[in-house]
């Protein structure tokens, strides 16, 4: 099988610059020396656009091109890094000298050539921008605006945004092997404000994928976002005070999987565990969840926002089991941390762009389905909270404490879903929250493609997912005591 993604990336990045493979070899040679354990050259060219509608009209659009090169030399635990927005031979050589300066001391690891795998093709090497005409993009936004206003007279404001583009990357590794990928990404978001008797509430919904814009036209997808945004806003109009205190919480399927991302995902990234700074450090083989829980990080799901054919170090992505039937199995690794921990890279070496260093990052993190129908999970709860939709979350890796904020929640009374309550933050302890999972639904869902994860100032697109879960004891941060 030919590697079309690599060919397209090479054509997009190298051809216009009149740079050849031999030029890059020369740059790599400048970086390599006796004390260098690893080195790479990362070339990237990205093109994105966005269109936004408010007040019933598409007021503005924007277009951006970002390109550059990042050069890295690694010696032991030390990393030297230089980047530039200019991809030209003299600049690259200068950057290579800067990066190499890291290796003032240290021994060289043995040079090894890894078996070359042909990466899978989880998405096509395309540029989504021309997949709809400009007029069609504008007509789509206007149609969605009209649909939202038609759904309910209480809809007062509608903001719709459409963005898309593609990033071509080339990674030249120390063995001279060239890896390439072209990563399309599209995103559509609908946000509404509803008003009733002077009370205003907001609702938003959206989705995205590694595909072109026609993704949103398949079936009823774009209109579905509109209905969901309006529904959420209207539910919030009726919401009363949220309860405060520790209680049984049922988490809905899909995006509420942000629980897994925060509570355990970050804590299982290789860098924190190599350094012993994670609440999960040194706990492989131990029970960290109830036996009902199996959690994976899977970069190989076709078309998903968090998926990658290869990571940003050229490693082919995989499905990594993090927790199997409650037992911690392994961490997510990039090349540096894998080498220092004596394990294999897991295809989780990601970076925001050429201007940032790669580190272990999640792709699509989700829990496998259990056996219980979701209705039975609700029925099992006497008194608690059903949290169906969430905003974002955050975690303190070291103490293990994490939060995530519900944006749609209901009280559960005597096994039935009761009145809606306002959004509230939920807080828990990562290493033990999953030990309190007492029921796992048979309704695994992945999120609609909206996640962006931040770590050390770097943002990357990710996915999450889970079935309906019952957690016996999470602290709910409402106002009603």
């Amino acid at each position: 099988m030919t590697n079309e993604s690599l060919d397209v990336a090479r054509r997009l990045i190298l051809d216009p610059l009149a740079l050849g493979a031999s030029d890059l070899d020369c740059v790599m040679a400048t970086m390599l020396g006796a004390a260098i354990d690893d080195a790479d050259i990362y070339l990237q060219q990205s093109r994105y656009e966005s269109w936004a509608l408010e007040d019933g009209m598409v007021k503005e659009g924007s277009h951006s091109i970002d390109q550059g090169a990042g050069l890295r030399a690694v010696s032991g635990e030390k990393t030297g890094f230089a980047y530039s927005d200019e991809i030209a031979l003299p600049t690259l050589i200068e950057a290579a000298r800067n990066a190499r300066a890291i290796a003032v001391a240290g021994a060289s690891g043995p040079s090894r050539v890894e078996a070359r795998e042909t990466p899978p093709r989880l998405y096509l090497p395309i540029d989504p921008i021309p997949s709809l005409s400009e007029q069609d993009k504008i007509d789509l936004l206007r149609r969605l605006d009209a649909e939202a206003r038609r759904l309910d007279p209480r809809v007062e404001q509608v903001i719709v945004s459409l963005s898309g583009g593609s990033s071509a990357v080339l990674v030249l590794d120390r063995d001279g092997a060239m890896h390439g990928d072209v990563r399309p990404l599209v995103r559509l978001n609908v946000s509404v404000i509803v008003q009733q008797d002077g009370r205003r509430e907001q609702g938003s919904s959206g989705g995205g994928a590694r595909a072109d814009y026609r993704y949103f036209l398949e079936g009823d997808r774009a209109s579905g976002y509109v209905r969901e945004a309006v529904r959420l806003a209207l539910v919030n109009l009726e919401a009363g005070e949220a309860p405060a205190g520790t209680m049984t919480v049922v988490l809905g399927p899909g995006w509420p999987g942000v629980l897994l991302h925060e509570a355990i995902g970050h804590g299982l990234e290789g860098d924190f565990n190599r350094k012993g700074t994670s609440a999960f450090s040194g706990r492989v083989g131990e029970r960290v969840a109830s036996p009902l829980c199996t959690v994976v990080d899977d970069g190989t799901l076709p078309g998903r926002r968090g998926s990658l054919n290869i990571d940003d170090e050229g490693t082919v992505t995989q499905c990594t089991t993090l927790i199997e039937n409650g037992i911690l199995r392994g961490y997510m690794q990039d090349k540096l941390n894998a080498r220092l921990m004596g394990v294999r890279p897991t295809g989780n070496g990601r970076r925001e762009s050429y201007a940032h260093l790669p580190m272990p990052r999640m792709t699509n993190t989700y829990m496998l389905p259990g056996a219980t129908p979701p209705e039975e999970i609700i029925e099992s709860v006497q008194h608690g909270l059903y949290a169906k939709n969430f905003g974002g979350g955050q975690v303190d890796i070291t103490s293990g404490k994490f939060v995530f904020s519900a944006s749609e929640a209901y009280l559960i009374e005597n096994g039935r879903i009761g009145r809606p309550v306002k959004g509230a933050t939920l807080i828990g302890n990562g290493p033990d929250v999953l030990t309190r999972v007492s029921l796992v639904g048979n309704d695994l869902a992945l999120d609609s493609g909206v996640g962006t994860c931040g770590k050390d100032g770097q943002s990357v697109p990710v996915g999450v997912g889970q079935p309906t879960l019952r957690v016996d004891g999470l602290t709910v941060g409402g106002t009603s005591v």
């Binding site: 408010e54 009209m57 598409v58 007021k59 503005e60 659009g61 924007s62 277009h63 951006s64 091109i65 390109q67 550059g68 635990e77 030390k78 990393t79 030297g80 230089a82 980047y83 927005d85 200019e86 950057a95 800067n98 890291i102 400009e134 993009k137 504008i138 404001q157 903001i159 404000i193 008003q195 205003r200 949220a242 405060a244 520790t246 350094k275 012993g276 700074t277 609440a279 201007a355 260093l357 905003g391 955050q394 303190d396 070291t398 103490s399 404490k401 939060v403 995530f404 904020s405 306002k422 959004g423 509230a424 933050t425 807080i427 828990g428 602290t475 941060g477 409402g478 009603s480 005591v481």
Partner: protein
């Protein structure tokens, strides 16, 4: 169309920066001409070039050395009231021309928006106060490593309970930026920014905690001493060891100065023009009304010498000026760009791109006195998550800090949330501390709020 242009006024001082400014002014001039040739009735362009060095040390060893070189060009064009924008990191003449063309192409499809367009000419900055924001640091990697190492060593050596480290890092950046538009505005200046931070981990009875401290300044000599930064990081970490949860309750809360700025951030979000004209704020129609208790004054000081938030003009070239947002607790002014001001029938306040050195007038009590004034309650020193709804003012965030009784800190707490509504939280401010944290773009002392709901175990 004729394009008038005022003389370049660079504050960059001698040498390469002023040369750089000339080159950038020429690049902007070319792009504005190119927009006009394509039929744009108005255009605005900005360009920036930055250089920097970051080093990180961990456990006494160098972890990373990063050399930064970045640049960016952005242009917004108007065809009457139709708008298009584009940006590129490639500053070559061809890339700049392509970028202008991309912006013009987008404008063809944008809707006619009567409020869109360049700023009113009379709002553009004509005077350029000396802000003293350019103090480049001629520091090589070895020098940076020495400082970061001293900082981390001070933290690691502070106490045997400091068992591990996330390291210390030193960053130094300098750059020039230039802004021009077809109303004749053209100005640029150089600025610098240096920072040092340290984060260490403590361990006691099987519990691990991490905390950090940092310093940031325009001039290297204004940074806190490296050993001081390390010592504070260690002290903060040790203070958190032994943290437990609280039972659910309602009680007064003190937000420590360095996180109290987040409350001001929510206030600014609620009086930003964009959220007001979209009716997405809990402070709609509040101009001239009391939002805070009478003793509260909040003002903007955009021209403070050497301050981090100081700018002569906003991101549209509109002059910035010192003014009160809140005096005697009453809302005096919104935070507006040209566009949001027009939507609201008002004038721009020079806040395209945000506020500049937002300042809460400090009170008389230092932190210990503030805790005495609180009596028994929660001192919050760390917040987690988003959990703030600007449309409704509903507030619910994760927190960590200390439980206080009779004004005396009892023990550290964690895994709790604090909740309320911003409207009543603002009204419920009892006192503002004298312990101003002046590091960032918001300067405030600690803030005591009468009551919030604390959820725990």
């Amino acid at each position: 169309m004729s394009v008038g242009r005022q003389e370049l006024k660079g504050d960059a001082g001698p040498g390469t920066e002023s040369q750089r400014l000339d080159e950038l002014a020429e690049l902007i001039g070319r792009s504005l001409d190119s927009a006009a040739e394509r039929g744009a009735s108005g255009a605005e362009a900005a360009v920036s070039v930055d250089r920097g060095l970051s080093v990180a040390v961990r456990m006494g060893e160098v972890e990373t050395i990063e050399y930064h070189r970045s640049q960016g060009f952005g242009v917004t064009v108007y065809f009457g009231h139709r708008k298009g924008s584009a940006s590129s990191t490639d500053l070559s003449p061809k890339a700049v021309a392509d970028t202008v063309a991309a912006a013009c192409r987008i404008a063809q499809y944008a809707a006619e928006d009567p409020y869109g367009g360049l700023p009113d000419a009379d709002t553009l900055a004509r005077e350029f106060p000396e802000l003293d924001v350019f103090h480049p640091w001629n520091l090589d990697a070895d020098g940076a490593i020495r400082i970061a190492t001293e900082c981390e060593n001070a933290a690691r050596g502070f106490d045997p309970e400091i068992s591990n480290s996330d390291g210390a890092s030193l960053d130094t950046f300098q750059g020039v930026r230039m802004l021009g538009n077809t109303l004749g505005f053209m100005h640029g200046y150089a600025s610098s920014r240096h920072s040092l931070s340290c984060s260490v981990i403590g361990q006691r009875d099987g519990q691990m905690q991490r905390d950090d401290w940092w310093t940031v300044a325009r001039a290297p000599q204004d940074l806190e001493a490296a050993a001081e930064v390390g010592r504070k990081a260690a002290e903060r970490t040790l203070g958190r060891l032994g943290a437990r949860s609280l039972t659910t309750r309602q009680c007064p809360v003190v937000f420590a100065a360095d996180i109290a700025s987040s409350l001001l951030g929510h206030f600014i979000a609620a009086i930003r023009g964009g959220n007001l004209y979209r009716k997405s704020s809990f402070l709609l129609d509040c101009l001239g009304k009391p939002i805070f208790p009478e003793f509260v004054r909040i003002h903007e000081q955009p021209h403070l010498p050497r301050a981090l938030g100081s700018v002569p003009y906003d991101s549209e070239g509109v002059a910035t000026y010192p003014r009160d947002l809140v005096s005697q607790g009453v809302l005096q002014s919104y935070v507006l760009s040209t566009y949001s001001a027009r939507k609201l029938g008002l004038k721009s306040t020079g806040n395209a791109g945000g506020v500049h050195n937002l300042t809460v007038e400090p009170g008389a009590l230092d932190l210990p006195e503030l805790l005495k004034a609180m009596g028994s309650g929660l001192l919050v020193t760390e917040m987690m998550g988003q959990g703030v709804n600007i449309v409704t003012g509903d507030y619910s965030r994760g927190a960590a800090g200390f439980w206080v009784e009779n004004g005396v800190i009892q023990y550290p707490v964690e895994e709790i949330t604090i909740a309320g509504n911003l409207r009543s939280m603002f009204k419920g401010i009892q006192a503002i501390g004298s312990d101003v944290d002046a590091r960032g773009n918001t300067r405030t002392g600690s803030i005591l709020i009468d009551t919030m709901t604390v959820a725990g175990n």
